[in-house]
């Protein structure tokens, strides 16, 4: 009996603790929704990403203290921004306006602006999309290396922690943290504006943004290292970025092309790995497991990109290639002649040995293994493909289909040595063994 009596106050305390914990989680969820836009607005006015992150974090702490009492405000985004801006002004004033720059920033932040949440909310509706885009363009600036751009974008726009990014890239926290610090320093040093570039600069800078988003996607889609073939959370993050970009730049065909490409590729995620975690090639996948919702979204985005006159853009062409597979109910219904033609065009606008190799595969499917062999032999000496497993793997496949089993087995074995992924290696070794058994 005494034990039960004693337990009662503890239980009550636990319940109160759980309620507080739940309230905090709810507030943190609201904050996560607002975080990227908040940092974008703060980075633009303070011209300092670190400071913007700090101010956003401070605003969260204030919310965690005040909201449990006052309730979540009607316009939480505007509330957080107003709080952070007030804090920024206080901070700069404490700095005694030592420099002209700070004085200017205070004027920007304060000046004629009405700091009420309603006014900020109205401004948010007009500008925040633009500010968020500005942040994405800054994080993906070409002065930063592509890997660092990806890390910084995941941190600032995706809201991932350093630890989450490290896990995603199979790296360690210290490396990623350093990468992010360097990236921020590069932005500051180059005086990168947190704004969407205009005119001719836009095209080049947009290319850099799309490259980063696709790099993040690919890191999740075809893990370049490690035992597991796909890391779907990275794909989801890249798709979210793609969807944001498509919503904010609905007139850019290549943005829609990249989104279409990612949605269509992601539609196959579940079918790409077999029950044993092994790699399942496109033609052997169970198409019933393709995500029809993502396929529909991908085809829609592709239609919009083509309607905007973007049919010859590299991402749009790649999406069109994916769409050929997505539209085929059965593997044998695949329109390989159209795929071969699309690769012919892609090879014109985005020439690369990898595209050449895929073009060879497409031609082999459309016009027979000999057509593939002819094309693949033309690029066998390309330096970029010297240690590229898919080249001997494709060659092996052409030879196998041409009935030249002994040569095919050798090619598969050579490909297995080069494979960077355990799962792919197992697949190639199995094919090599089958050739040896058959010849």
């Amino acid at each position: 009996m005494p034990a039960a009596t004693l337990a009662l106050p503890t239980m009550l305390a636990d319940n109160a603790g759980m309620a507080a914990d739940e309230a905090h989680r709810a507030i943190e969820a609201v904050f996560r929704i607002e975080r990227a836009r908040l940092i974008a607005a703060l980075a633009r006015s303070t011209r300092d990403v670190d400071r913007a992150e700090e101010l956003a974090q401070d605003a969260l702490l204030t919310a965690l203290t005040e909201w449990p009492e006052s309730g979540v405000p009607d316009k939480p985004g505007a509330w957080l921004l107003a709080t952070a801006k007030r804090r920024a002004i206080d901070g700069f004033r404490r700095d005694m306006m030592r420099t002209r720059k700070h004085a200017e920033i205070v004027r920007d932040l304060d000046g004629a602006h009405d700091m009420s949440a309603e006014t900020i909310e109205a401004a948010l509706d007009n500008e925040l999309g633009d500010e968020l885009l500005g942040l994405i363009f800054a994080a993906c600036h070409p002065v930063i290396s592509p890997e660092a751009r990806a890390a910084l974008t995941l941190r600032l726009v995706g809201g991932l922690t350093t630890e989450e990014i490290a896990r995603a890239f199979l790296s360690n926290e210290a490396t990623i943290a350093q990468r992010i610090v360097r990236a921020k320093r590069a932005i500051a040093k180059a005086g990168v504006a947190f704004a969407v570039p205009r005119g001719g600069e836009l095209a080049a800078r947009l290319g850099s943004v799309l490259e980063v988003v696709y790099l993040i996607f690919n890191e999740g889609y075809s893990a370049t290292a490690g035992p597991s073939l796909v890391r779907p959370p990275l794909c989801a993050e890249a798709q979210r970025l793609g969807r944001i970009l498509a919503a904010l730049m609905p007139e850019e065909p290549e943005v829609l092309g990249l989104l279409a490409l990612m949605e269509i590729q992601a539609s196959r995620l579940a079918a790409r790995t077999g029950p044993d975690g092994g790699f399942v090639p496109l033609t052997e996948q169970n198409r019933a497991r393709w995500d029809q919702l993502l396929i529909r979204r991908g085809l829609n985005a592709l239609d919009r990109a083509e309607a905007l006159g973007g049919a010859d853009g590299p991402y749009v062409l790649q999406a069109a290639l994916g769409a050929c597979h997505a539209r085929a109910r059965r593997s044998r219904d695949t329109d390989w002649v159209r795929i071969a033609a699309l690769y012919d065009r892609l090879e014109q606008v985005m020439p690369s040995p990898v595209v050449e190799l895929n073009r060879a595969v497409a031609h082999s499917m459309a016009f027979g293994p000999e057509a593939g062999l002819r094309l693949v032999d033309g690029i066998a000496d390309a330096a970029a493909l010297r240690n590229y497993a898919p080249l001997p793997a494709a060659r092996g496949d052409f030879l196998f289909r041409a009935g030249r089993l002994a040569e095919a087995g050798e090619a598969f074995a050579a490909a297995a040595v080069l494979a960077g992924n355990d799962r792919e290696r197992d697949y190639l070794l199995t094919r090599a063994t089958l050739c040896a058994d058959g010849s």
Binding site: E28, A29, P227, L293
Partner: protein
């Protein structure tokens, strides 16, 4: 994670209310909310459904199939619309749902249900694979 958000039906939605001024305001607010969802990359899909008077049910019992015409009773058990959202977790889904303008005149309800994900069919990730991944991470932590 992917969730489906159901907009539960009410007596009003089951009646298929004619467009009134109040409804126009509601549609506007909902349009703005949808735009916010799209801009955040959260909305994947969504639509409204006609009242259950336009629907049919097929009842299964062994070999028998019985078609039952709508309308169906218990408005609260019915669905008037849905969204598919891609969110990080249920907390985020709840935070978005709370921002939704009242979907119906009068009291109403949203229900959030997570989809099954690949991880839920986790037999593909054997302890051996998980262990190898951890070992690789430990190795990389040394660089």
């Amino acid at each position: 994670m992917r969730v489906m958000v159901f907009v539960k039906a009410t007596d009003d939605s089951e009646r298929g209310l004619p467009p009134t001024e109040e409804m126009t305001g509601m549609f506007e607010a909902m349009g703005k909310f949808n735009e916010e969802l799209v801009h955040a990359g959260v909305m994947i899909d969504g639509d409204g459904l006609k009242p259950s008077s336009a629907g049919k049910r097929i009842a299964f019992d062994g070999a028998s199939r019985t078609v039952i015409d709508g309308p169906f009773a218990e408005a609260r058990e019915l669905v008037a619309g849905y969204w598919v959202w891609e969110v990080k977790d249920m907390d985020e889904a709840v935070a978005w749902a709370k921002r939704c303008p009242n979907p119906m005149p009068g009291p109403s309800e949203l229900e959030i249900r997570p989809f099954y994900e690949m991880e839920d069919f986790g037999e593909a990730v054997t302890p051996e694979i998980a262990e190898r991944e951890q070992r690789l991470r430990d190795q990389l932590a040394g660089d």
